[in-house]
């Protein structure tokens, strides 16, 4: 093996590319890792939004215990590192007590984390809608729920779309700590290639490029959605 190590410097760039990505179908590692990253992120985003909206309503509710509970949850999540939360979910809460797949547990952990941030975004969005809008809705005889649904939330959603998009992007990048509980995501796949080829540069740059392209692609989609929503009210 030491011999192998020494020869690394003597390899041409093409040979290094081949060794890192082609030999033993190593590119498949990256592709599978990307798949895992996307799956976990997708589940986490859905959970995060559902939980976030729920927490935001609790936080804004007039019922003190609900508001307090939501506030405490958000406070704890925001006050502790995500890696620690992930490990607690896996090693303490769900790992020992359930037969859930690692990736599912991770998605739950990321979703619970994201929910706290989404809650703050949604809460801010609801508060950003002029109070007069709600009063106009109520004065027409609409119920509180209808006023929320047809008047406040659509306007809030438009206001928070950029922040929600940002949260989505942050979340995807944050899943790169999946390796801590042994899930082979995109980042960990790069790490595995590095360990086998003992070449740090190419696998890590490749991983970075894939994340970057993914993020750019999502930003592009979000921007288009934003523009479409803005056109609809031609202000």
């Amino acid at each position: 093996m030491p011999l192998f190590y020494d020869t690394l410097g003597a390899l041409s760039f093409m040979e290094r590319l081949e060794r890192n990505f082609i030999t033993a179908d190593r590119w498949r590692l990256l592709l599978d890792g990307l798949g895992t990253t996307l799956q976990v992120s997708f589940m986490a985003v859905i959970l995060g939004i559902v939980l976030g909206v729920l927490l935001a309503f609790m936080r804004l509710s007039k019922a003190r215990p609900l508001s307090f509970l939501s506030g405490a949850y958000i406070d704890i999540i925001r006050g502790t590192p995500l890696v620690v939360q992930l490990m607690i979910f896996y090693f303490v809460l769900l790992g020992p007590t359930t037969k859930l797949d690692k990736a599912i547990i991770a998605a739950i952990a990321f979703g619970c984390n994201s929910g706290a941030y989404v809650a703050e975004i949604v809460r801010g969005g609801i508060l950003s809608v002029d109070h007069g809008q709600e009063e106009a809705g109520l004065s027409l005889g609409l119920t509180r729920a209808m006023t929320m649904q047809y008047i406040v939330l659509p306007q809030a959603f438009k206001n928070i779309l950029p922040s929600l998009g940002n949260e989505l992007i942050v979340l995807i990048k944050e899943t790169s700590i999946l390796g801590y509980i042994g899930v082979v995501d995109l980042a960990r796949a790069g790490e595995q290639i590095r360990a086998r080829t003992l070449d740090a540069f190419l696998p890590l740059i490749a991983v970075a490029v894939v994340y970057y392209v993914l993020v750019k692609f999502l930003s592009f989609l979000l921007l288009r959605l934003e523009r479409r929503l803005r056109e609809s009210d031609q202000r």
């Binding site: 009063e135 106009a136 027409l140 047809y150 008047i151």
Partner: protein
């Protein structure tokens, strides 16, 4: 029709309404005047339960609507309200603004609501604005739309909270015109305004409100020409 008895409203320590008594008959046009901060808006908002009175009663056709078990949306349906800042829904077209409530509350079908909206728009001279978004309308147009949006619910009484005070002067007339026509059709109206001309022409009775009470009330001619309270006189001197 509406009977207000000993109405009090406090926001924390601040006592904004300190015992308001009055009656409004069906078809009557009541104009409320008074200095800023005197509680005029709070009074109107207590009538349709946007604010819950601290104590006192508001009887609407004999029913105490401040009772805890009263169905607020059902009461509000019978009272239209327009606001100083119009509060049109910016994400909806004029047509959607107008038809949202009657449709969602199941009072009108889609076609019926659209037909009704078109007729109302015609009456306020804005038939071509149906598919426009509020952001593209002038203040006067917005307020006219806000009025007909309320009328879609076929209310029995209309509450107006300074409907012209955020408008450029040249747009005040068109909004008052719509209100005058509404008055001629027999609508019961309670109007907070500083438009003395309108009050004289349309009002049956003027209430002067200050510091949370009705300090003086009477027919417009008497209030504007011969106010009894020094406070009313001071106020009128400032606005006239």
């Amino acid at each position: 029709m509406i009977s207000v008895e000993g109405l009090h409203k406090s926001f924390g320590e601040l006592e904004v309404l300190r015992g308001v008594h009055t009656r409004v008959e069906r078809g009557e046009k009541v104009v409320v005047i008074g200095p800023s901060g005197g509680g005029k808006s709070t009074f109107l908002r207590c009538l349709n339960l946007l604010e819950i009175p601290t104590s006192g009663a508001v009887l609407f056709d004999g029913i105490d609507i401040t009772a805890r078990n009263c169905n607020k949306p059902a009461i509000r349906r019978r009272m239209g309200m327009t606001f100083q800042h119009f509060n049109l829904f910016p994400h909806l077209t004029v047509m959607e603004n107008m038809t949202l409530a009657p449709k969602k509350l199941g009072l009108m079908g889609k076609a019926e609501a659209a037909q009704e909206a078109r007729e109302l728009l015609e009456r306020v001279g804005l038939p071509d604005k149906a598919n426009e978004y509020p952001g593209r309308l002038s203040g006067g147009q917005k307020q006219r739309i806000a009025i007909v949006r309320s009328l879609m619910m076929k209310p029995e009484v209309m509450l107006f909270d300074e409907p012209t005070s955020s408008l450029d002067p040249e747009m005040v007339g068109e909004v008052l015109e719509v209100m005058k026509r509404l008055a001629l059709q027999g609508m019961t109206m309670i109007v907070v305004t500083h438009e003395i001309g309108f009050a004289r022409e349309v009002g049956d009775r003027v209430l002067f409100m200050d510091e949370g009470r009705i300090l003086e009330e009477g027919p417009p001619d008497q209030i504007f020409s011969d106010p009894r309270q020094p406070r009313t006189r001071d106020f009128l001197n400032k606005v006239l």
